[in-house]
Amino acid sequence: MTTFQMTKAPKAPEAPQATAPMLRRLVSGARTRAAGVNLLCFAIAAGLFALPLVYVLLQAFKTYTGFLQDPTGTPHPWTTESFSAAWQQGHFGREMVNSLIYAAVPDAITLVLGVFLAFPISRGYFKYSNGLYTFFIFSGFLPGGLIPLFIEARTLHLYNSLIGYLIMTSLSGAGFFFFVGYIKGIPREIDEAAALDGCGYIRFIFTIVMPQMKPALATFGIFGFVHGWNNLILPLVMLSDSALWPVTRGLYSFFGQYSQNWPLIAAGTFIVAAPIMVLFILLQRYLVEGVAGGASFGTQGVAPGASGAGGAETGGGA
């Protein structure tokens, strides 16, 4: 599920910021009315979307026996021991490092390789550039390859290894072609001018094309990072050694191991969620408004996004 927003990321973030929509004028005239709507929105956002998280966070401050005696009340006594216990028993420190590696490395590699793959194709340097592009889009609808990938990984000794996992996630092709459409929007004249100036291909890509693609790269990068961090199925299938597990895999086991002890589970859950939450708070404006701006490019941007969604999803989220 987490894959589709990544591939459906916007082409450009300069969304029409704060265009006070007509709708608002139509809906509410009076001030009190606006306040009422605001309150309603607050109730929905806080009550429906934030409350479950806050509730679970609250449980983390209970003791085990305190929780058993009064599962739904407020903590008494308050304690933070669950956090330190969860941190130790869940080995979340080590897993955090793993998660960071699994999220950042393939993300960075995918971005760079994606541009190198997309550029010649979007410029039409190959005889069948368009055909290739279409083929990729439709390959996203092919059956999920999780099982053969598992067998392949075992044969190539990529199974249960950090490097192997990184190779598989960096090269599996999710989103390579995502940039094709974007690059088409960069004027060709730049290529010619740069080439005439004697600029080499690699330098050209890094110093001229990539800076032009910053918004796309950034959005793709962030969503790719979040997706890599959150991936559960691939680590579940590909990594048997608990020393290699990322936090998601760790939490999955931790959950089954201690689920009689809810305060501990709640603490573990929040330890796992915290880094991604911090990232979200830092970048939320960019993420949220980025998506809102992205679809304004309409269906032209849909096709590659959609294929990526199908492909990455059925492909085990690689």
Binding site: G145, I276, V291, A295
Partner: protein, 299 residues
């Protein structure tokens, strides 16, 4: 076919190929090959346990699925369809409603949008833990609320009649923020002048929505419906963490996962299920695209 302007006379022919060599090869090996190999493995009987043989057995898996295991297959397909339709409809309805409500300027609305968007950044394990506790009939708050409001008991995720609906709701909870944002993007694309014209005609709020907003949101709706459908068709991670597939929640994706990676470890049978999933995706995805495009044109 365009000419690559980079490099010398001699290297320029190879630069494009060099450029795509590594990512292209990677994609062939870890993207395309596994997908295609699924077809091959679906004709084998293979447990994947070390030392056990891989036997080609023709249509054996397909035969089993459509004869002795047909009830299981049918139930998985049925659950998947209910899941897909339910989540798509709910998520779009809620997403659109939220979009209409929250497409306002101001810091507070930016904050609300962020809150609503937030659940999807979490891993399914986190969401699974949160709702396993919320919905635990003896330790969670949901039971208390339902009991005091309606005076009824419920086993929630353990209830055959409720479990699927609840998993769907959790899915919607996670992703309706995303739908909301896509709809907001659509709303922002609608020119002001259209509304001004409508206001001049003295159209009421409902009429404006029906005759102006809704048709002009057609492409946003297409994107939303299509993406939600495609993403939910393969869903199993969320079901896995919430119910483990019991109580009528085993989707085709989860059936595949459990057949292949459960203790029975039937990789051949699992591949066959992945193939069926593929067929389902093509049929539904293709049909949906056709219908949505026609609708867009018609509107």
């Amino acid at each position: 076919m365009a000419r690559c302007p980079f490099g010398t006379q001699r290297t320029r022919r190879f630069i494009p190929w060099a450029s795509i060599a590594i990512p292209g090869a990677g994609w062939l090996m870890f993207g395309l090959y596994p997908s295609l190999a699924t077809i091959l493995y679906s004709f084998t009987r293979y447990s994947g346990l070390p030392g056990t043989p891989l036997n080609y057995c023709g249509m054996c898996n397909y035969h089993t699925a459509f004869t002795s295991l047909l009830p299981q297959l049918w139930s998985a397909v049925r659950v998947t369809l209910i899941y897909v339709v339910g989540v798509t409809v709910l998520q779009n309805a809620i997403g659109l409603g939220l979009a209409l409500l929250l497409n306002r300027s101001g810091r507070s609305y930016t904050f609300y949008r962020a809150l609503i968007f937030m659940p999807q950044i979490f891993s399914v394990t986190v969401v699974g833990a949160v709702f396993s506790l919320m919905l635990d009939p003896y330790s969670g708050p949901a039971e208390k609320v339902v009991h005091s409001l309606f005076g009824i008991n419920s086993a929630f995720l353990g209830s055959s009649s409720l479990a699927l609906l609840l998993v769907m709701m959790v899915n919607v909870w996670m992703f309706s923020g995303y739908s909301m944002l896509l709809y907001i993007a659509g709303l922002r694309n609608i020119p002001r002048s259209v509304y001004e014209a409508a206001a001049m005609d003295g159209a009421g709020r409902l009429r404006v929505f029906r005759h102006v907003t809704w048709p002009l949101l057609a492409s946003a709706t297409t994107v939303n419906v299509f993406l939600t459908t495609m993403a939910t068709l393969g869903e199993y991670a969320l079901v896995l963490v919430l119910t483990g597939g019991n109580f009528g929640t085993k989707t085709l994706g989860l059936y595949m996962f459990q057949a292949a990676f459960g203790s029975d470890s039937q990789l051949g049978y699992g591949s066959m299920l992945a193939m069926l999933q593929f067929v389902l995706t093509i049929v539904i995805g293709g049909g949906l695209l056709y219908v949505l495009r026609r609708r867009e044109v018609a509107l």
